[in-house]
């Protein structure tokens, strides 16, 4: 069993991709701006993969995802700055707090479709409000400054090309975790749940427990991504963890294809680059998202991965 998913994972294509991605900092060594962009993409790729697990593979609409991203970021920031925790401990705590938030939210899995989406949306709004209002902890709308660069194995990761490897390792670990999950009996049950929830329940699958698991795993991922973002930028502020970001991550998943793991990463890259490019449009850059969301839903609900339909169907990464 273990061999089978590994064999599916290590294909020539995946090895080549990993090798190219590992070489990115060398290629971009002289362009700090592009390195920064790539690092940001990596953080958002983590988020996109996490949301994809819930939305694409679980078939449930989690609209408050950025809130959990924030839980991780603020936990890590507060623990390292105010309590002098080392990065590794704060990182784990960030994931734990995000999972705690998800546990708090988990009763809503009883709700179906629309009510569930509504509840997650509102949960996200509540978290964003807390980040804004609880100034004693989060420093409110002004933002939280002075988050230290992380120290890993005794080395302080200051340079962006070094930070890249930290992010790369996290992203790869997450990717393998999700890949593994999808190629396990859990993944099979997930597919059954998505296709027909009632039939799945009748066959003795504990659908509620599966949904809770999805929420918890995806929240842990968001927490990890938040912690990494906080230590990368040294600064966090509430808008990063609000509705706009939830929509942006949703857009990444939709763009790449809701059920294509590499698609989520491609989606994250495309959206971040579009954001950078259209920032010259100033406030109107978001309209690109709006129009794209509508057009994709109308004409290409399977995302970019759907374009390559026949090809992707045979590709090794299809779950």
């Amino acid at each position: 069993m273990t061999v089978s998913w590994l064999r599916r994972f290590w294909t020539p294509a995946s090895v080549a991709t990993i090798a190219i991605l590992a070489a990115v900092p060398v290629l971009l060594a002289h362009s700090p701006y592009h390195l920064f962009l790539v690092n940001t993409i990596a953080v958002f790729a983590m988020l996109a993969l996490g949301l994809q697990l819930v939305l694409g593979y679980g078939g449930i609409l989690q609209l408050g995802y950025a809130g959990f991203f924030g839980l991780g970021a603020y936990t890590s920031a507060i623990l390292t700055v105010h309590h002098g925790w080392p990065f590794a401990a704060a990182f784990v705590a960030a994931m734990a707090v995000a999972v705690g938030g998800a546990v708090l939210m988990s009763p809503i899995v009883r709700l179906r479709d629309v009510n569930f989406a509504m509840a997650t949306f509102v949960f996200g709004l509540i978290l964003e409000l807390v980040y804004n209002q609880w100034s004693a902890m989060t420093n409110g709308p002004i933002g939280f400054r002075g988050i230290p660069a992380p120290t890993v194995f005794g080395m302080t990761v200051l340079e962006p090309q070094h930070y890249y490897y930290l992010l790369f390792a996290a992203l790869l670990a997450e990717y393998i975790l999700i890949f593994r999950l999808l190629h396990s009996p859990f993944g099979t049950a997930l597919r059954a749940m998505r296709e027909n929830e009632t039939a799945c329940r009748t066959s003795g699958v504990d659908v509620t427990r599966m949904k809770v698991t999805l929420l918890l795993v995806s929240s842990a991922i968001a927490g990890a991504a938040g912690s990494l973002l906080a230590h990368m930028n040294g600064f966090v502020s509430p808008p990063t963890f609000g509705w706009a970001t939830s929509v942006a991550v949703l857009m990444m998943v939709v763009l790449g294809g809701v059920r294509s793991l590499p698609g989520a990463i491609v989606g994250a890259a495309v959206i971040r680059i579009v954001v950078e490019q259209t920032s010259v449009l100033g406030q109107h850059s978001n309209i690109v998202f709006g129009v794209a969301l509508v057009l994709f839903m109308a004409f290409l609900p399977t995302g970019l991965a759907g374009l390559t339909g026949g090809l992707a169907a045979r590709a090794p990464w299809r779950a």
């Binding site: 078939g59 807390v130 109107h284």
Partner: protein, 292 residues
Amino acid sequence: MSELIGLLVFGLAIGSIYSLVAIGFSMIYRATGLLHFAHPDLMMMGGMIGYTLATRTRLPMPFLFVLSGLAVAGLSWLIDRFGLRPMRRQGALLNLIIATIGWGIILVNVALFVWGTAPLSYPQTYLPKGRVIAGIVIVPQNLVMLGVGLVAMVLLQLFFTRTVVGQALRATAESPVAAQLMGIRVERMMTLTFLLSGFLAGGAGVLVASIVYANFDLGLIGIKSFAAAVLGGFGQVGGAMVGGLVLGLVETIGAFYVSSAYKDILAYTLLIVILLVRPQGLLGAGRTRPDG
């Protein structure tokens, strides 16, 4: 005591806004199964259009309400006709909901483009000064808001219960398939649903923008009408009305006695609790919808 009465009036006034938006939101949900995330932004558009009308024409409030309402009804119809209906045929509810999020973003950006980022105040004539009557501070604007809101709700209630079209609309919301079998033109009723809910959202936008400000982020206030709709059981028109008023009261009184910084958190937490313990809403009987 006089303070409390002032609070109650304000709570009911803001609540009537929530009600108007929530009614449309509920109607759309019942008729199409859709969470219309662009609905609060339609309310915002009403406030913006109302601002332009107010500064250019100085028409009295009720006219602003109706004209902005009509304009937003048109917008709402356009979004449904060209942005949602073609997709509705393909099914996939989640995709439709995501598309409405896209429409919300588009509306916000259109507002930014046309009216800019600065909050805009309605001309002073729409904001008469508060008067003290028998020791109670009465802000006329709140009374106007409450009055217009209540009149609109009474008219709606009559429309839904006393007219054939209103009953056909309710039947469509109840069960599109059964309604179709009874000879109701469901597609037409859905169009009417979007028109009517757009009208209410646009009118509500004028009311709220006239006392707060007109700005692209006004939709944030409209979002609370989601909570009102849920309080009212997500679907019943009467429920949405009561839900809006209850939410307005709870939030205003909570802000006064507990904390104004946390009043939104209070409203949203209430929403989640209601979803969990009484998905049929405050007024609903024991019956829960299959998706509740």
